[in-house]
Symmetry: C2
């Protein structure tokens, strides 16, 4: 049986959820596509690298990770033997690195790429996409915005011939959580402490609070869906750092809720991209997006406006999104389409 | 250039919107799929039938329909020369006829079928699907629920390997409109009169008001997405005919809104399907679905819960959905996939 050999860079929660799904769906993938998926390299952040030309036993990798190599992610991308690179390393949102270098290296070698890392899509999409096309390889990135929810696939696979004219949404769960807790009357520092405990807030929440994460996601959406050539630093961006409990109470008194909204649209040939807190009606779709849920609304010339809501995802949904990208690659390799 | 020859049964608003899109996207389809789409027969309800082996000029059909045949829809399905039947005839929701006969006839001849008619999907999906598979032809029906919004494609094309465990939604716009107007304090008869004028309410609104249309849509969803073998008469169904303005006021006083909800799920191997008015929280996603908008929420084992909202569609969106089904057929015929 033909195999698809993967080099996986990053083996945190999402990578482990993906590995569990590869095990669970192994037989089904073989049956549907006549190919076996093998992981021939896993590079972790702190537990070293495991390489195995015959395929790593993922049960063992999950239970008892055994490094046998000291190669870095870049070295594996550059020198290891694999068919597709799965890029799951931690994100430097201000540069997109080292993920961009990993992906560029793989694409230049004619390897397919699956990225769960939004940095490369926000900072270098056009270059990487062109490189993938030139090399005639696949480049998939469904989980870079809204976890495994099919945001990119919704447009690419279900809305053929339609042109996206506007994208909007609520894409950052940390700010969503903070605004909700402020509205519930809690103190800002207490919210951050509790949010860190629950895993909703990073040790340094600045990237979320200042709207930078949302801007990166909006940029990824616009680069892919509207053929923009945008970078996150060019998004007109305002975070929630200046929103006070009093602002939220004032808004509530007028039937409004404050949400961090993302919006991108073209007007007279010019692309606009904004991230900013907005007062939305309490009865609006935006207001219903609570805590870890998120929303993307997509307007097209042919299908009007559609909204996709992802309700309270778990890390398993990110693993699933990476699996879907793997399925898309198998479809490409085999010509077997749904 | 190879052609895909269509026999179109029904040429009302949706059929005409579809014809306009076929004209508009003709070049793009030829470029992408290397095939030309031709309409070789159009059967109208009151203006006769037009057949043209070399392809009907759709500009002329739209501007000045010229019947040249007296064949009925069934006769065209049975005897005419075409590759795919496009079934857009008016629905008899209590039987699914004559659409089922049209489709069965076409499939038995080994013709592909596109249906915008939910009757066949609600009443005879399993039989027709099996027949299409046996004949190795395509059977597409995206517009039967939520116009052109990609409800079926969302699952089939963007959620591979996932199993649908629950479907819910607000699928009938007439009842949505009536409940809203009742909430606004209007009189029931005045609402119906105004609704008829605006095109939101049928001459005989019973099928909508009594929940039958919603039950047919729910049945279509469950038959396709959950492999149910359901018919609309077996849905546990309650309409809005007994909902009074006082009920709505009482609900509002408790922060609730009344909506006609559809829900289908499996429990212990048994499929449940219900349509009934429900009191939903004013701040819930359900409550935001106003007037002509609609909602489907889909829960799967691998991707959790996703919701798709279609905002205030026009008839053009139904035409687009039929075009998307045509694109899917072209993809099947050419092996060219996104």
């Amino acid at each position: 049986m033909k195999t698809l050999r993967l080099a996986v860079l990053g083996f945190g929660n999402a990578g482990r959820a993906y590995a569990r799904l590869l095990l669970e769906k192994d037989q089904e993938l073989r049956q549907q596509y006549g190919m076996a998926v093998q992981v021939t390299a896993i590079v972790t952040g702190r537990h070293g690298t495991w390489e195995e030309a015959a395929g790593i036993d993922l049960h063992r990798a999950l239970a008892d990770f055994t490094a046998n190599s000291s190669r870095t992610g870049l070295e594996v991308a550059r020198d290891a033997d694999y068919d597709a690179l799965v890029e799951l390393t931690p994100l430097n949102i201000a540069t997109g690195q080292p993920a961009i270098d990993h992906i560029r290296t793989a694409l230049r070698r004619g390897k397919h790429v699956i990225s769960a890392n939004k940095g490369p899509i926000a900072w270098a999409y056009r270059e990487l996409k062109a490189l993938a096309e030139e090399q005639k390889v696949g480049f998939y990135h469904e989980t870079t915005v809204m976890d495994g929810a099919p945001v990119f696939d919704l447009v690419e696979r279900t809305l053929p011939l339609a042109r996206v004219t506007e994208v909007s949404g609520i894409l950052n769960t940390t700010t969503n959580y903070i605004l909700e807790e402020l509205a519930a009357g809690k103190d800002y520092d207490a919210i951050l402490a509790e949010g860190r405990r629950l895993g909703f807030v990073e040790a340094d929440p600045a990237m979320d609070v200042e709207g930078y994460d949302a801007a990166a996601k909006l940029t990824a959406l616009l680069n892919v869906l509207m053929d923009a050539d945008l970078t996150p630093d060019r998004v007109e961006r305002q975070g929630i750092q200046n929103i006070t409990a009093a602002d939220i109470r004032d808004a509530a008194a007028r039937g409004k809720v404050i949400k961090l909204l993302c919006r991108g649209w073209r007007e007279g040939g010019v692309l606009h991209a904004t991230v900013a807190p907005a007062q939305v009606d309490r009865g609006s779709l935006y207001a219903t997006i609570d805590s870890t849920s998120s929303l993307v609304s997509i307007t097209t010339d042919l299908m009007g406006k559609l909204s996709l809501v992802e309700h309270a995802p778990l890390i398993e949904q990110t693993g699933y999104g990476i699996l879907v990208d793997t399925v898309r690659l198998l479809q490409r390799l085999t010509g077997i389409c749904p």
